[in-house]
């Protein structure tokens, strides 16, 4: 999948700059896929795609 398409899909599921994210669950095999809470929504996705999201830790206001 082209990077621009992946970017659009991630945004449509709420992954935009400034949103709080938290990893909630991991799968049994290789910890994949993962369940991530972004703002108030929980999204399940594979690590491969989650790698496209840049996260800074401890940026709590």
């Amino acid at each position: 999948m082209p990077a621009t398409e992946l970017e659009r899909r991630l945004i449509e599921l709420g992954f935009v700059e400034g949103a709080d994210v938290e990893v909630l669950h991991q799968g049994l095999f290789g910890g994949d896929p993962i369940a991530v809470r972004v703002a108030h929504t929980t999204i399940g996705l594979r690590r491969r795609e989650a790698m496209a999201i840049l996260v800074s830790v401890g940026a709590e206001p």
Partner: protein
């Protein structure tokens, strides 16, 4: 821009009075309670094409508003955006933008949003506003949001968005009053659609819209800080890497157990009813030929199929329940990696699970898979899941040939064989998809798996009941049309021509059925099939379960009246064990279902995948039946 004149719907497709009624389209994110709202608005009057699973196709239902206006409500597949990444989302996009050729062009768009999960919905609203049609926002499931301490300033939200905002509780009496009143008001205003300003958004536009949605959200919503505590606690177990998988297996086990155990009283009752009807007909002073037609052809044939209604209803009950609870997305999440090993996408789990009920809704449900290759693989293997139409055939053969005894004092041998047949089906599906992925689509990278895991919701009894009612109706319609006509055909073939005067052999040996069955005998001889089986296989093409009724009719006519209720016993005395096992093996694979093939052709948009499915399944069926027969004979089962 020219406006397409609304085409007159074909008679029966829609009630004539409503063909020109204004159209109100429900649009929203997946899991926003849109279908429950649709059910609350239209009740059971909705018209649904085929089996609705998860909504993958538009559904239309009539509604009379408080002002007495007749309106057609259209329920559309859930989506996050009008960009349409998968076939089900294309349905939504085309109808919202008025691109369809049908007369379903929305006069009003109702954007349905889960009030406790507004963030992504607001971005969709901003997109819908660009379409150029009147839009209103309905904050659904307000009761749940309030219970969780979420307060929404609807008036302020309406000002910020520049569109009317109403609240709704689909499940409560009067919960849709505000929505209905607003629909009336909007339609009375009769705003004409303006030209659409919508263009496919790029990442920058999406990002800007989401930030705008976040700003509005922050200004109108209070108390959305904490996640749903029930969902968090339940997910600690259900999404636990080990416990979650164990629970999933347990749920599946209970589901299949229930299909067999719970259905029994209902099946006994239906059986007794048809038995009674048969006896009744026998006592009537009718010509022998007519009695035979009514008793063996109609009542016996259709009854042998309708008896499976309880099992089908129970299976669909579980599927709808898991869907409404919000568990299906979790099941897909848990299975993604495991199914990925076999070359299937995590999202394929839901279509494949539906295929246990029937491959038709299963194939249709693959529309939620956005990648074409992943979708085709799923369609290809969906018919290998043991559908409910195979249950009658399996039950009959197992009852006749597998002794009813306990194995290791724990499980019944018959149940074990049934379980084995399901397992063979699943294993074959995984094997086929593995081969397809490695050989046909070698080297193509896998598509991403991204899926919202919605908060758990209590299923609504009414919505569930309507869902089940729709499925039961579809099944009974099928029994009354395809299956009925096949049973009549079989009876005619098995009865005519009548035996000559002074004939010594059973009457059926002189019939057309016997001639056809004998003619294809050379082909099925290596599988251990006799001509009676060959005859039963032909109508089985229309619907698998017909084979049971056909065998019943054939043996009833050849073996005298008393054989009708004793198909199993008759088979037990006429078939060898090897033949019975080969017949089961054939049924695991054979593409004996014309409606499924038709749906594959429709969903893939051509004949090619129909033929691929047909040939690979026939080949597997033939090979499996051949091997089973030979091995069983070698072990003395001939």
């Amino acid at each position: 821009m020219s406006v397409t004149a609304p085409t007159i719907a074909s008679p029966g497709a829609d009630s004539p009075a409503s063909a020109s009624a204004p159209v109100v389209a429900l649009v929203g994110n997946p899991n926003c309670g849109k279908t429950a709202l649709f059910n609350a608005l239209t009740g059971s009057r909705q018209k649904v094409a085929n089996y609705p699973g998860v909504t993958v196709e538009k559904k239309v239902g009539p509604l009379t508003t408080p002002a007495g206006r007749t309106v057609r409500i259209v329920d559309l597949p859930g989506t996050y955006s009008l960009r349409a990444r998968s076939p089900d989302e294309e349905v939504t996009r085309d109808i919202v933008l008025g691109r369809t050729q049908s007369d379903v062009i929305p006069d009003l768009i109702v954007c349905v949003a889960d009030a406790s999960n507004l963030r992504l919905a607001l971005r969709l609203v901003l997109e819908l506003k660009q379409v150029g049609r009147p839009v209103l926002l309905s904050l659904n499931m307000m009761d749940i949001a309030r219970k969780r301490g979420i307060e929404i300033d609807a008036e302020k939200l309406s000002r910020e968005l520049g569109i009317p905002v109403v609240t709704s509780v689909a499940v409560r009496r009067g919960g849709t009053d505000a929505l209905l009143a607003e629909i009336d008001r909007r339609l009375a205003a009769a705003q004409a659609a303006t030209g659409t300003l919508w263009t496919t958004p790029d990442a920058t536009a999406l990002r800007r819209a989401q930030k705008e949605a976040d700003r509005i959200l922050a200004s109108v919503v209070k108390g959305q800080g904490k996640p749903d505590s029930l969902t968090t606690r339940v997910d600690a177990v259900l999404l636990h890497p080990v416990a979650g998988l164990i629970v999933l297996l347990a749920i599946l086990f209970v589901m299949f157990q229930a299909v067999f155990a719970w259905a029994e009283p209902g099946m006994d009752a239906i059986e007794a009813l048809f038995h009674f009807l048969g006896d009744l007909v026998e006592r009537l002073p009718l010509p022998a030929l007519l009695t035979s037609f009514l008793k063996d052809g109609l009542i016996g044939g259709v009854g042998s199929v309708i008896v499976f209604l309880p099992q089908i209803v129970i299976l669909f009950f579980f599927i709808l329940l898991l869907e409404d609870l919000g568990y299906m997305a979790r099941a897909a999440f848990l299975m993604d990696r495991i199914m990925g090993g076999a070359g299937l996408h995590g999202r394929a789990f839901i279509p494949l699970l539906s295929s246990f009920a029937c491959a038709i809704p299963g194939v249709m449900a693959t529309r939620v898979i956005d990648d074409r290759r992943d979708r085709l693989t799923t369609i290809l293997v969906a018919p290998l899941m043991t559908c409910s139409a195979r249950i009658p055939v399996y039950t009959l053969i197992i009852g006749a040939f597998i002794p009813d005894r306990q194995v290791w004092g724990l499980v019944g041998l018959q149940g074990l064989v049934m379980f084995g047949l399901y397992t063979v089906g699943i294993a074959s599906a995984l094997g086929v998809s593995f081969v397809v992925k490695r050989i046909i689509w070698r080297g193509k990278p896998g598509e991403p798996f991204m899926l919202e895991l919605p908060d758990y919701k209590l299923p609504q009894v009414k919505s569930l009941a309507i869902g089940l009612w729709m499925r039961a109706t579809i099944f009974l319609k099928r029994a009354g049309t395809i299956i009925l006509s096949m049973m009549i055909l079989i009876w005619v073939l098995a009865t005519f021509p009548q035996p000559p005067e002074g004939a010594t052999e059973p009457a059926i040996n002189y019939s057309l059925a016997a001639r056809i069955g004998t003619a294809i005998q050379p082909l099925t001889e290596p599988l251990g099939f006799n001509w009676q089986i060959n005859v039963a296989l032909i109508p089985g093409m229309a619907a698998r379960e017909v084979a049971v009724g056909s065998l019943g009719t054939i043996y009833a006519i050849s073996g005298g009246e008393e054989a009708t209720d004793k198909i199993a016993e008759t088979l037990g005395s006429q078939w060898s064990l090897a033949t019975a096992l080969a017949f089961l093996a054939w049924y695991v694979y054979a593409p004996q279902c014309a409606p499924t093939l038709a749906v594959i052709r429709r969903e893939t948009g051509g004949w090619r995948w129909l033929w691929v499915t047909f040939f690979y399944m026939v080949t597997l069926a033939y090979v499996a039946a051949f091997l089973t027969y030979r091995i069983a004979v070698a072990f003395g089962g001939g």
